[in-house]
């Protein structure tokens, strides 16, 4: 039998080992869920509040634009609130209308929204590749750190430090390294540098979350596996992996958001064409003549982040049985 290591969990860790509350009777019938009929209503309310939040932001924007001074609010030498001119703060309806107009005056120009969508899809693909690499690397690190306490001591500080490296400085270096990689028919593409940088941001929360999850089984469960004479791999597959799911899901979502940010920033700093990072810069440069246009890619990257996080949420729905807790609800 391998040594099953006890991990001292941080105080905030979710514990499934609370004393089971004594219950008076043996329940013969299914526990009825009173929330059943109000569930759609609650769902509706959630969407309602979400929309209300967007509306509030829109109202603040337009409200400030209407009453704020044209030159913004200046305290001493510092401008604490922005100018309210159409150049600095276009009307929301102008930004939205601009999305439907052609991107340039050329005859065959696509509408702005289509250009933004295409760029967003490109970035999404790169971010997804980076996310996948981040998942593999992050879970790999977590497995190593869970298996050997020494590895946790040795690796964890470096993993934390890795995230303090400024990405902007880092991106061109990766690109130049990549340009020298050529193995047989394989040639390093520029988008791979971007994906690599995205994975660099994505792996961090995944490694931390997965480690915490793999260490989360209660002592009683670990000992139970020990009494079954289960080895490391069996314990991993039957106990640690499933127990890690509730910790892993938020980490994967954070990783997805990080991958998108990493991809966008890396596109900007490596100057990769075709992604949303590029048009973000390009259209911002055109803002003096066409202020509403610069907002297209901004909306695009917001939607991009939502899609990325939403895809992971979908994963959570599929794994919902692994998010149960032992106590009766």
């Amino acid at each position: 039998m391998t040594d099953t290591r006890r991990s001292s969990r941080p105080p905030g860790a979710v514990s499934r080992s609370r004393e089971a509350a004594p219950e008076v009777s043996i329940r013969r019938s299914a526990p009825t869920r009173p929330a059943n009929n109000s569930a759609p209503r609650r769902e509706l309310a959630r969407w309602g509040w979400g929309l209300a939040g967007i509306l509030v932001v829109a109202l603040l924007w337009e409200g400030y634009k209407a009453i704020g001074p044209a030159d913004g609010v200046v305290l001493g030498e510092t401008r604490v609130l922005p100018r309210t001119t159409d150049l600095a703060m276009p009307h929301i309806w102008e930004m939205l209308a601009r999305l439907g107009e052609p991107v340039t005056r050329a005859d065959d120009a696509l509408p702005l929204w289509a250009v933004v969508a295409l760029a967003a899809l490109t970035t999404l693909g790169i971010a997804a590749a980076g996310w996948l690499v981040g998942v593999v690397v992050g879970i790999g690190f977590a497995l190593i750190m869970q298996r050997w306490r020494l590895a946790e001591w040795g690796l964890l500080p470096w993993i934390v430090i890795s995230q303090t490296v400024p990405l902007i400085a880092f991106a061109p270096v990766v690109k130049s390294w990549g340009s020298r990689v050529e193995i047989g028919a394989f040639e390093w593409q520029d988008w791979m540098s971007v994906a690599l940088i995205a994975s660099y941001l994505a792996f961090f929360p995944i490694a931390i979350g997965a480690l915490k999850g793999l260490q989360s089984p209660d002592r009683i469960h670990e000992e139970l596996m020990q009494t079954y004479a289960a080895g490391y791999w069996q314990t991993l597959v039957k106990l640690r992996m499933p127990a890690a799911v509730p910790y892993l899901l938020p980490a994967l979502r954070l990783g997805a958001a990080n991958a998108v940010i990493g991809a966008v920033v890396a596109e900007v700093s490596t100057g990769l064409q075709g992604g949303i990072g590029r048009i973000l810069i390009q259209f911002a440069g055109q803002a003096s003549g066409d202020p509403a246009k610069a907002w297209g890619p901004i909306f695009g990257s917001i939607v991009l982040g939502l899609v990325a996080a939403g895809s992971v949420a979908l994963l959570g729905v599929m794994l919902k049985n692994y998010r149960r807790t032992e106590e009766s609800a």
Binding site: A20, P22, E23, S25, A30, K238, N321, E326
Partner: protein
């Protein structure tokens, strides 16, 4: 009945076992020269105040800990071999079910780990759930069950591989009194059905008396066996004959008194003002 078998085969044999824990404040002698033999098919309870080492003793038998001195054998094997050979089933105070598995999935876990084929597995699970009266709940998840039901699933899981020895560490400790008595009655039935020896750790005197053939009374600091009280109930009657009525019989109360006095070092004064005629 059980005594005849006991001559042929012992389930657990403990000889001069010591256990010392190293703590920050120094050494703690948890167990001091423990000798105990549990016959095959025998039901033995370990009882004593907190810190008397009764759980520790059970953990040593289960090979979840190693003794500092002395020897333990389980069906003639070392505890480690016995564990690897799956000679015992175990149940703790907490049910310890895996929350992401259904009731059937939880009971099937040990079978799954030991490569029992799918068909044989589900047949065995059906049989076990029938035994603990949870057939209708096979597809439920642990969070949908009451504490008593969760504990019954844990017992079914402990019995999955037909062990000849069942180790139970206060399995009913977290249950309310009514559920607890119901579970005790069921355990009596189940242990009679399976014929397994049981080592049962408990805090409760009536529980120990109701269930056991022998009650091992332990004292703390260091953990020692104070006295082993044979239950005349068990010798007279077969285990299956223990019913709810037993709880109200005179003999039952006499045994409770005997265990209580053993617990308090044989001094009737400690148990309060009371007649001493049964001393």
């Amino acid at each position: 009945m059980t005594q005849e078998q006991g001559v042929q085969m012992t389930a657990v044999e403990i000889n001069g076992v010591d256990k010392v824990f190293e703590t920050r404040t120094g050494q703690v002698q948890a167990l001091d020269s423990i000798d105990l033999t549990v016959a095959a098919g025998e039901f033995v309870s370990l009882i004593g105040p907190s810190g008397c080492g009764k759980s520790t003793l059970m953990r040593l038998v289960a090979d979840l800990d190693e003794p500092t001195g002395g020897t333990i054998s389980v069906f003639g094997k070392t505890p480690r071999t016995a564990r690897l050979d799956q000679e015992y089933g175990i149940a703790f105070q907490q049910a310890g079910l895996l929350p992401w598995r259904t009731v059937a999935g939880n009971v099937a876990l040990p079978l799954e780990l030991h490569g029992v084929a799918s068909a044989a597995r589900s047949a065995r699970v059906t049989e076990l759930l029938d035994m603990v009266g949870l057939s209708d709940f096979a597809d439920r998840y642990p969070d949908q069950l009451s504490g008593g039901m969760q504990q019954r699933v844990a017992i079914a899981r402990a019995l999955a591989e037909q062990p000849r020895l069942l180790l139970m560490d206060e399995p009913f400790g977290a249950l309310d009194e009514m559920t607890r008595e119901k579970m005790q009655t069921e355990l009596v039935r189940i242990s009679a059905e399976t014929g397994a020896a049981v080592v049962f750790v408990t805090h409760s005197i009536p529980e120990a008396v109701f269930l056991s053939d022998r009650v091992v009374v332990m004292s703390p600091r260091p953990g020692r066996i104070q006295q082993i009280v044979p239950m005349r109930l068990g010798v007279d009657a077969q285990r299956a004959a223990r019913t709810e009525e037993l709880r109200e019989e005179r003999g039952f109360f006499e045994m409770v008194t005997a265990v209580r006095e053993a617990l308090h070092g044989g001094s009737p004064i400690a148990t309060g003002a009371r007649g001493v005629e049964n001393r």
